[in-house]
């Protein structure tokens, strides 16, 4: 498997700088997610990788060498466009048969792929009778039909129900196990966080941040939310609340037998060290990390 990189990519559409020297390394067997608001350059960056957008400078690099023709990548590519649709007059099977013929895939594989995306029962029906989620699953089937080295998914969760999302996770896992590279753009940050290895955040065509979800979370230093469950046998907790307040920047809130407070990650140990002192009062502790959408907003709010 070759390593695939986008190196110093700049794209200008008239007076609009769509991408400004963006570099991203895609690692085989890993999932990279592009995140950013609408117009941030995600689709343009994907377009450059797919050969659909010609960059003004920079480009795709394969194993350290500039990919001049794009042919090698095209032969090994699977792509799911955003909100894809297919010829309404053709059946799901016929759509897949076309892409199998175009990519030189044995038609015997079509049945297995249809089974994998749970469309085997609807294979002979015309696409015009498919729901939005079924069309999206057909799009996934088209993307993975040739067992590509690079799988590019643009908003893959669009229109999918829970069963469809399970199909998507399975496909991503299979691709990872084969050592394939996955790049996807998505607004479903919370849904994707646990599934991706690298998040690339773009805004205004510029690279704002990249790293693992944990790295980005740590970088933002967003406060953690700590939940204490109180022992009913010790109804008076004034000293405990006072001890929390004395840590500084903490405003605990009590609601019956629950106390909740927010605290900076670097003060967490100090807060937890209170627990042995109030062993009888505190029956349990739960630490809640900020949602990845909060991390995303925090990263994009801060100018680099």
């Amino acid at each position: 498997m070759k390593s695939i990189s986008l190196r110093d990519v700049s794209v200008r559409f008239g007076s609009v700088q769509a991408l400004d020297e963006v570099s991203v390394d895609l690692v085989p067997g890993e999932v990279t997610m592009l995140a950013g608001p609408n117009g941030s350059g995600k689709s343009t960056l994907m377009g450059v990788l797919l050969g659909l957008v010609r960059p003004n400078s920079g480009g795709v690099v394969l194993d350290g060498e500039e990919n001049r023709t794009g042919r090698w990548l095209k032969e090994r590519l699977g792509y799911l466009p955003e909100a894809v649709a297919f010829a309404p007059n053709l059946s799901g099977y016929q759509v897949l048969r076309f892409f199998a013929a175009a990519r030189g895939v044995d038609t015997a594989r079509i049945g297995a792929v249809l089974e994998n995306v749970q469309l085997a029962d609807a294979a002979s029906r015309a696409v015009r009778g498919y729901s939005r989620g079924m069309i999206q699953r057909l799009g996934l089937a088209v993307a993975v039909l040739s067992e590509p080295q690079l799988l590019v998914l643009d908003e893959p969760t669009g229109g999918l129900d829970q069963a469809g999302i399970s199909v998507l996770w399975r496909i991503i896992e299979e691709q990872k196990e084969r050592g394939g590279t996955i790049l996807m753009a998505s607004h479903d940050l919370v849904l994707m966080e646990k599934r991706v290895h690298q998040v690339v955040m773009l805004a205004g065509g510029k690279l704002r941040a990249k790293g693992t979800p944990e790295e980005l979370r740590a970088r933002t230093m967003l406060p953690l939310r700590v939940h204490f469950s109180l022992d009913p046998a010790y109804p008076t907790v004034d000293r405990f609340l006072e001890a929390i307040e004395n840590l500084g920047d903490c405003v605990p809130q009590q609601n019956g037998l629950k106390v909740v407070t927010e605290i900076a990650p670097d003060r967490l140990l100090a807060l937890l060290s209170l627990q042995p002192k109030f062993n009888g009062t505190v029956a349990g502790i739960r630490i809640e990390e900020p949602g990845f959408d909060a991390v995303y907003e925090s990263v994009l709010k801060v100018e680099p």
């Binding site: 590519l77 053709l90 175009a102």
Partner: protein
């Protein structure tokens, strides 16, 4: 070529299932049958009566069908978000464009063969050969206008816009073009040479088709009374015109798509 072959078959399959194409094919068959039966009752020779009538019918109907068939070749894919999917297949942009055009031309040919085929079957035995001669030029006429529709589909953002442009092109090239040339002759008081005017007539595939087929049915001298004998270009020139329309326009479409890659 693997992608090209697959795409030709895919387009053909998709179009022959298109209800609009089926309806137009039936309409063409009915009208061609009507013309043939009427001509049979009015004259003895199919070549003298049915042929020219079918030429008139085909020169009106086939360009319209072809333009409508071609109007969404590119923008239809763009609207369905599948243009990127096709252009990421291991093929050049030109291969994709030409394969889509060829697939649709094949579907259009079925429509033409059905329409004119019924006329051939209904014609007198002696006139059948003359009517069979209509088939290939009519397919060429359709291919030229389908190529124009394809070009329009690459510059229009939405299929609805492309459809309006296609209908406007049909009115312009099929109805108003010859009238415009006539007007030009009158306004300029003969400043344009007959060669220039004949060149302009032949540059329009609808005009070239009419001139070639009328010449076929009545011979070049048949035009003498109309003083348009000069409209018929030399065979190599007419072949060049057909090639420019049928191959040149999809080539321009390919260049348009390549340009759009860098200036979306």
């Amino acid at each position: 070529m693997r992608v090209g072959r697959a795409l030709v078959w895919h387009e053909f399959q998709e179009r022959i299932r298109d209800r609009w194409v089926i309806v137009v094919s039936i309409l063409f068959m009915l009208m061609a049958s009507g013309v043939t039966l009427y001509s049979r009752s009015a004259a003895e020779s199919a070549a003298a009566m049915t042929g020219p009538s079918l030429v008139t019918l085909a020169s009106l109907l086939v360009p319209l069908v072809a333009l409508i068939l071609g109007h969404d070749v590119i923008c239809g894919e763009r609207e369905r978000n599948t243009l990127g999917l096709l252009l990421t297949l291991p093929a050049t942009t030109g291969e994709v464009v030409f394969a889509k055009v060829i697939g649709r031309v094949l579907a259009l040919s079925i429509s033409v063969v059905l329409g004119l085929g019924v006329a051939v079957l209904l014609a007198d035995e002696g006139g059948r050969e003359a009517l069979v001669a209509l088939l290939w030029p009519t397919v060429l006429l359709g291919a030229a206008f389908l190529s124009l529709g394809t070009l329009l589909s690459s510059v229009a953002k939405r299929p609805s816009t492309a459809a309006s442009m296609a209908v406007a092109s049909w009115f312009l090239l099929v109805f108003f073009y010859d009238l415009g040339l006539l007007g030009l002759l009158v306004v300029t008081d003969g400043a344009f040479s007959s060669e220039a005017i004949s060149g302009l007539v032949a540059a329009n595939p609808a005009g070239l088709y009419r001139v070639e087929m009328m010449s076929h049915y009545s011979g070049p001298t048949g035009f003498e009374d109309l003083s348009v004998a000069a409209f018929l270009p030399a065979r190599n020139i007419s072949s060049l015109i057909w090639v420019l329309w049928i191959v040149g326009l999809p080539a321009i479409t390919t260049l348009t798509l390549a340009r759009q890659r860098s200036s979306r």
